[in-house]
Symmetry: C2
């Protein structure tokens, strides 16, 4: 089989657009692994003259930018404060007005905890034309690389994605943890590591078991991915003991048990998977 076919034929078959000068494309880069970029994202990287990326975009992704592109960082690094959202938007507008092809590359998806809506509205106000390219969000892709399905028919028909962190650093006060605990068998928390103790307490107060399985996935889908399996009642203590660091996803729910059967990534390095991780007819799960 030929693996050297031309990208040109893919561009035509998939009808990928030309990046016009003076446009901004807001593009999701996925959770980390460059293989999780979309064809639209690669198409954008291959044409953009300016790439503005944030902290959650992996270096492997940036290597796919076209030679000569200006690559600019718009996130927090080395203790320096992050540029204000307003300043990032102004920068995008300035370049677009200069007739550049401007790629705003965001970790995960731009519209799911990515503040893409705010940046796009600033472009609208400035009269700058734009396109949005969704990406694989880490709550889906990161879970898959940990061998944890976001949904499984025997367990849940609903999953909630929630952010555990606000701009000011607090846990969002508007989140109704009690209702989420009652309504969502599986809760995926983005950026929640700092507030894990409080979140776990809220969920337990609302009736979730201290023994409910929890997984912490740090640097999901990258070469440095780490997964910690624990339980709701001791999750925070286990995180502290393990030294696991942000950025990390927290998954709360029985789907975490499926990892014993679905951790395909570890299986590539020899982990033995079991075919019945919930126990025959799910009885084991019921007892938990």
């Amino acid at each position: 089989m030929s693996l050297a076919f031309a990208w040109k034929s893919v561009r035509e078959a998939a009808n990928l657009p030309v990046f016009e000068p003076g446009w901004v494309w807001l593009v999701g880069a996925g959770p980390g692994d460059a293989g999780l970029l979309t064809l639209h994202a690669l198409n954008a990287l291959q044409q953009a003259e300016i790439v503005v990326f944030d902290a959650l975009v992996d270096e492997a992704v940036l290597k796919l930018a076209r030679p000569g592109a200006v690559i600019e960082y718009a996130g927090k690094r080395g203790g320096k404060p992050s540029p204000k959202q307003r300043n990032i938007s102004l920068r995008l507008i300035e370049w677009a007005k200069q007739g550049k092809r401007v790629l705003r590359l965001k970790g995960g998806d731009p519209f799911l905890f990515g503040r893409g809506g705010e940046e796009a509205l600033a472009l609208v106000a400035a009269g700058v034309p734009f396109r949005v390219v969704p990406g694989v969000t880490s709550g889906v892709g990161g879970l898959a690389y940990a061998g944890i399905p976001a949904t499984h028919r025997d367990i849940n028909h609903a999953v909630t994605f929630v952010t555990g962190h606000m701009a000011g650093g607090d846990v969002p006060s508007t989140i109704n943890w009690r209702a989420l605990a009652e309504g969502s068998p599986v809760i995926v928390i983005y950026m929640g590591l700092k507030h894990l103790a409080r979140i776990a307490t809220e969920l337990i107060s609302a009736g979730r078991s201290v023994h409910e399985p929890v997984a912490i996935i740090s640097e999901a889908t990258t070469q440095n991915q780490l997964v910690l399996e624990t339980e709701l009642g001791r999750a925070d203590a286990d995180v502290r003991a393990s030294g696991i660091k942000a950025p990390a996803l927290i998954v709360v729910g029985e789907v975490v048990r499926l990892r014993a059967g679905l951790d395909w990534l570890s299986a590539l390095s020899g982990r033995k998977l079991i075919a019945d991780p919930l126990g025959a007819s799910g009885d084991e799960r019921e007892r938990a």
Copy 2:
């Protein structure tokens, strides 16, 4: 700029794997637009000898399979009953045991309402090695193509994805609509069109406003995408009057209002976007 670079260089830079004979890859194809395939998915399509796809995979995607690949349909079509899940799994196993490279291609993401976990566990039981490739789920990608962000800082810090349909055709009885209504400012319902009247009634009983904005997105991200904007109290009547058809996503929440500012896809054909769709300082939203 060169747009004719070799795919080979991308494969190397992104470290895309070789598809070994006798393996099954469970791959998300995204919501429809072939441009939303991941590089991993394209890499899989270019190597697979067998491609088993389901109803929600767009034809444009299948065109990217390598010449000579066997393309097999495993979904419902033209009134014929869909193959039983067990039969699909047996088919995948049979081919893998014959030493084929088997690509199981699913609409959206395999682990988010995709039953990928069930198929993967069947592979584990049969001793067939596998890999999982997450995809852009329609609840994220489909919303983005409708110009609706799944989250927006002024509106929500949580979003729930729920399926409105079970294997038997009923709305899942295990869903706690009251709790979801209280806990999730934005609810995205997959496959819920048939049960929209009941779902709307449940949400309204739980305190959501009859005037809460709702969008119905059918055939999201494809050439046939249609978006209907309505309100919770009249959503079902409007759907019936419009003739809009499944497959469709339902979005309930104030984020739908942002479409007036973020509908970039319609803007490509001339729609004028407004920079302040929530009204100055969000007052308009508060009054709704």
